[in-house]
């Protein structure tokens, strides 16, 4: 299949699926004659083409396991004038801190979160649950069987991250690297597991 044809199909599908986006698997089911590798290459090149094209108001962005078409950032002002977009309030500082702790330490209980933050965090947890950014991922061992929380794939989407490895590294972790290397490795292995889970 010609390169132009492949791109036109991908663009058409991206347009149709809008905010839902597409996974590379879905594209590959529609264009079975192309390898995943080739499809990925085409998408990367399309990304660049949109970005470089000053006459274009749209672009391709990563989302967990896939891609979607969005307007370019400069479009935000024009888009808002249309009032077609329900404006969502950004997360509070409390919710941001709480979700950051969950993202880095998952699975983690509410009490651990509260120990780190030094304040009650129940309301922040509820907000994050309702927004679908976190979920219960299990129960702690022991008598309390406390609920353990983890982030969802919507978390990645909400913050525009492709996967958890794109989270900025924690500063302190870097500083005491030697001391904490073992802990870090464990931590990283755990990361990878979570990433695998999310991509399932």
């Amino acid at each position: 299949m010609k390169q132009a044809k492949i791109r036109s199909i991908i663009e058409g599908l991206l347009y149709l699926t809008g905010e839902d986006g597409l996974t590379i698997d879905q594209i590959s089911k529609v264009i079975p004659e192309c390898s995943i590798q080739e499809l990925s290459n085409q998408i990367e090149q399309m990304k660049m083409a949109y970005n470089q094209n000053e006459s274009s108001g749209i672009m391709i962005v990563d989302m967990p396991n896939g891609f979607r078409l969005t307007t370019k950032p400069f479009m935000a002002d024009y888009a808002e004038q249309f009032a077609v977009i329900p404006k969502t309030a950004p997360l509070s500082q409390a919710a941001l801190e709480t979700v950051a702790i969950i993202a880095y330490k998952q699975p983690v209980s509410r009490i651990s979160i509260e120990e780190i933050r030094g304040v009650k965090s129940e309301r922040a947890l509820q907000t994050l649950m309702v927004k679908g950014l976190i979920k219960e991922v299990g129960r702690a061992e022991g008598s309390g069987r406390a609920i353990l929380y983890g982030v969802t794939s919507l978390f990645l989407d909400y913050f525009g991250l492709h996967d958890l490895s794109e989270l900025p590294p924690l500063v302190e972790m870097m500083k005491n690297q030697n001391e904490q290397m073992d802990a870090y490795d464990l931590f990283y292995d755990h990361y990878k597991e979570t990433i695998n889970e999310l991509s399932e």
């Binding site: 347009y15 149709l16 699926t17 809008g18 905010e19 839902d20 986006g21 962005v61 979607r68 078409l69 969005t70 307007t71 370019k72 950032p73 479009m75 935000a76 888009a79 004038q81 249309f82 009032a83 977009i85 329900p86 404006k87 969502t88 309030a89 950004p90 997360l91 500082q93 409390a94 941001l96 801190e97 979700v99 950051a100 702790i101 993202a103 880095y104 780190i116 933050r117 030094g118 304040v119 009650k120 309301r123 509820q126 907000t127 649950m129 309702v130 679908g132 979920k135 219960e136 909400y158 913050f159 525009g160 991250l161 989270l167 900025p168 924690l170 500063v171 302190e172 972790m173």
Partner: protein
């Protein structure tokens, strides 16, 4: 006045301590307990003078700091007293623990800042709703392999979220929101929005926030505007979205913030 910052500006005692450490240019790895305790207590007293309700977490931290400071003034006990009833608590250990706690908290605070930047960037990007492809779709659910189906757990989880959302929307019994949104101002907001977009706006799109006072003020603002004929509301059939457009009296509308101060 030394402390212009309100207690609301902080996420908790650790956040307040980090603020003081930064302001006093103290090395977080070598915190002078006496100094930080005095500064912290100063702050708390200022707040109490202003009769602000200080959360228990702040008082607990105050107690811990004072305990640490006073233990540091006492001489270290002799070795043979170690197995006495009162176990000796080394204030240096407590200081190290507090330092670690602050460092841990600070790095997550920084991570939260980074996430905030990501959030802001993401909020600039918009996508269209997906096109309805149901004419092509296979609606036979039994054709979906069991592994691909939603589970009872998914459904319960969805239900739980509904319940949580309900709970979250109940007003907090402990917090009284004194921030008043004047009706006149909200009327102006609505009119500005209508004039700027110049297309009919849905009733829903006017209500940006779900807290009760905001909803009520916005609703009253809409009623006032209707009475003035500045806006017209239409609903084509039952349960349809109510659409709002500018009315004949729109040109005469000039509300100031205090025009409806009730």
């Amino acid at each position: 006045m030394e402390y212009k910052v309100k207690i609301d500006a902080f996420e908790g005692p650790l956040d307040l301590l980090l603020h003081l450490i930064k302001k006093l240019e103290i090395d977080i790895y070598d915190i002078p307990v006496a100094e930080i305790t005095d500064q912290y207590m100063d702050f708390i007293h200022q707040m109490q003078k202003l009769e602000l309700d200080i959360a228990s977490e702040y008082l607990l931290m105050a107690a811990q700091l004072i305990a640490m400071k006073s233990r540091m003034l006492l001489p270290k006990p002799e070795l043979d007293q170690e197995d006495s009833d009162e176990p000796y608590e080394d204030p240096e250990m407590a200081r190290q623990a507090l330092m670690q706690q602050l460092i841990d908290y600070r790095q997550f605070k920084e991570a939260a800042e980074a996430l905030k930047v990501h959030e802001g960037e993401r909020m600039q990007l918009f996508a269209k709703p997906p096109t309805d492809l149901s004419e092509y779709e296979n609606n036979d659910l039994t054709a979906i392999p069991i592994a691909g189906r939603a589970t009872v757990h998914d459904m319960l989880h969805a239900f739980q979220r509904v319940i949580l959302k309900h709970k979250l929307e109940q007003p907090l019994s402990t917090k009284i929101d004194r921030q008043v949104l004047p009706i006149g101002q909200q009327m102006s907001n609505v009119m500005d929005k209508l004039r700027k977009t110049n297309i009919p706006l849905s009733f829903q799109s006017i209500f940006l926030y779900t807290d009760r006072s905001h909803l009520i003020v916005t609703f009253l603002a809409l009623l006032e505007l209707m009475k003035m004929n500045a806006i017209v509301c239409n609903q084509s059939k039952n349960f349809d979205d109510i659409m709002i457009i500018l009315g004949e009296g729109a040109d005469n509308f000039e509300a100031s913030e205090d025009s409806f101060d009730y």
